[in-house]
Symmetry: C2
């Protein structure tokens, strides 16, 4: 709970570094209290708070407590519904569609993943497509749920249309992340959690805040040309003037930009086409008076029981062997470590459980406003 | 069947442009005859020839008739077995493992995909992992098999360890391609078929042949630094001196190289860990005398019945709508077309069915040798 001033780099603005740290458990309690005050049932509020704070613990700051004010906005404006009628349409022993009833994304997603896990337990595979949902936080949380049951988890979601197709000039696809998590024996689980854009939206946001130029290859200006000005990209996206994030592989086809674009399309198909949710370019609609309507975000969850293929023991030993071989392979000169996906996040979690979660000043200001309005004690 | 001299670009070497074209049907017949002479049963030879020539028709020249001499080498050296004992281990109504018996990759893969299709028809999902197989040609062939049954197809495979992990200096992962194919209504099917490396191995090979410098960001030298010398990369790979292809997203993490690397790892897990095949870095083993042994390549096939989620009619209309919206979205200045995955290959197929398949002089020389040795008439 001790406020803590982080070191200030030469040339950086003071404001960004007046960062407070907060205890994860206290932040989780605060978050749940806020959600309950907006009508989220107690159990659902606990689930969602765990998902948000897990994001902060893993170092994905953009999707944790920093996102709470956006969720509050969504409740206040009818974009997300705190007590949705979540409808499960069973289609087969291994497949289902969930209508989230316009509910709070993390709660809808958690329940859909639980359904996929239960189907896989009973029938080896469980695939669930979700429509009429909202921003669900980090995809990796849901895939790790499957890993806790010794199964492989897959999760995708569509999102606001901020990403350009190859040779395009306007955002038509979401950052459309893919997460795949796989159990291991003694090693940390493999947890891939990646936007299919060259860079995650949150990283662009951090660059805007710090007013640092972004590398050419992350995003484009309104004509479709790469830019190093993050603020320009945000202004253009807000005003729908064109430009946006480039797909993984960058502009054009020379370095595989069409592959990142193709993966984003595949995520779009799994998340919105199988479920009947809006494609990214029709999410977050507004009524004729310009007022926001439910976002109609779509997700997809897959769970695979490993013994549908091979003994779980052999599989897990094989995973450890794969990890050891890659980690111990020869390194690029000047580097000393090859990471496996999920390691950095797992190490960050250990550190932040010990040292607290940093809350940037902008986020702290937002949380103070919420706390004051609702008369809820702040954890910092 | 008419030999044809393609236009010669200024500054390019004459040799590469002395390209013959051959009729697809005649090339298919030639290919099947060659395979039968190596002991491949007639039906299997037809299947495999169709897969190879389809690759040429789609414009993926590296995986078609150009690969025949390598397949011949594999039969001659016991890397691939022409009449394998393919064993199906049924694990559940929706999952199975196939032991390819060291068989010819395209035949093993075709049969595994047929099994996945049949499982999905009966039980909504069909997932099949394959071990003890060989190079299977283009992944997109198998996913398009599912599309012919109005289902979604997924295919992955591992491969020779030519790809570096992020911060690595030696090849430990294959180019580990992913294909996803999805049915549409009136539009061409969506067919994503992509190596998870920045560039496909075949493109690097073409650059080596033409002796053109490659863009920095495709591959590295033996120290792990990006290089523009394709020949150097091949020499280093042959001698296992280090260096290799960079993952999609390139070197380091700035442009998402860790994402391409993560996708390659995920493909590795699905293709080799679920099936019990060798991971890429243990494929193509040799005995103590340095003689090649069966490659033990692993694949993974998934088939999804769309009405496990939603009406196929609604889905397909939604696919067309998605395609129209993206295709018609605003273009980067100076470009006039946004492609959907599979369109280029489909247009190339139409053209090559009409105009013939180009056979580069190096490939023609290889095929002449094979034809002469086996006394089989050449189609050019």
């Amino acid at each position: 709970v001790t406020p803590h001033l982080h070191g200030i780099e030469a040339g950086s603005s003071l404001k960004d570094h007046l960062t407070i740290t907060a205890n994860a458990d206290e932040l989780r309690v605060f978050c749940a209290r806020v959600l309950k005050r907006f009508g989220v049932p107690s159990d659902d509020a606990e689930i969602a708070s765990d998902i948000l704070i897990e994001s902060d613990l893993r170092g994905i700051d953009s999707h944790g407590i920093a996102h709470l004010s956006r969720y509050v906005y969504d409740f206040q404006h009818g974009v997300a519904c705190p007590q949705p009628n979540i409808e499960i349409v069973e289609k087969s022993p291994v497949t289902a569609v969930v209508d989230g009833g316009g509910g709070f994304g993390p709660v809808v997603a958690y329940k859909a993943m639980e359904l996929a896990i239960s189907k896989a337990k009973n029938n080896y595979l469980g695939f669930v497509a979700v429509r009429n949902s909202n921003h669900y936080g980090i995809a990796g949380y849901y895939t790790m749920m499957a890993v806790k049951h010794d199964m492989i988890g897959i999760a995708t979601t569509n999102a606001k249309p901020n990403v350009l197709p190859t040779f395009g000039r306007s955002g038509v696809l979401g950052t459309n992340p893919i997460s795949i998590a796989v159990p291991t024996d003694r090693e940390r689980p493999f947890v891939l959690d990646m936007a299919t854009s060259a860079v995650a939206f949150g990283k662009l946001e951090m660059s805007r805040r710090s007013e640092k130029p972004i590398p050419l290859g992350w995003a484009t200006d309104e004509t479709g040309q790469p830019t190093n000005d993050a603020s320009l990209v945000f202004r253009n996206l807000d005003k729908q003037k064109g430009g946006g994030l480039l797909p993984l592989g960058g502009a054009g086809e020379e370095f595989g930009g069409h592959k990142g674009y193709g993966l984003a399309l595949a995520v779009e198909i799994f998340s919105s086409l199988l479920s009947g949710a809006a494609p990214s370019f029709r999410t977050y609609p507004k009524d004729s008076g310009g007022n926001p309507l439910p976002a109609d975000i779509g997700h997809f969850f897959g769970v695979i029981r490993i013994d549908g293929f091979r003994s779980i023991t052999e599989f897990k030993i094989g995973m450890d062997d794969l990890i050891h071989h890659i980690r111990n392979s020869s390194k690029l000169e000047g580097t000393d470590r090859i990471y496996i996906h999920g390691e950095k996040e797992s190490e960050m979690t250990e550190r932040r459980k010990r040292e607290g979660i940093p809350v940037p000043s902008e986020v702290a200001t937002d949380l103070r406003k919420i706390a004051k309005k609702l008369a809820i004690a702040l954890p910092f």
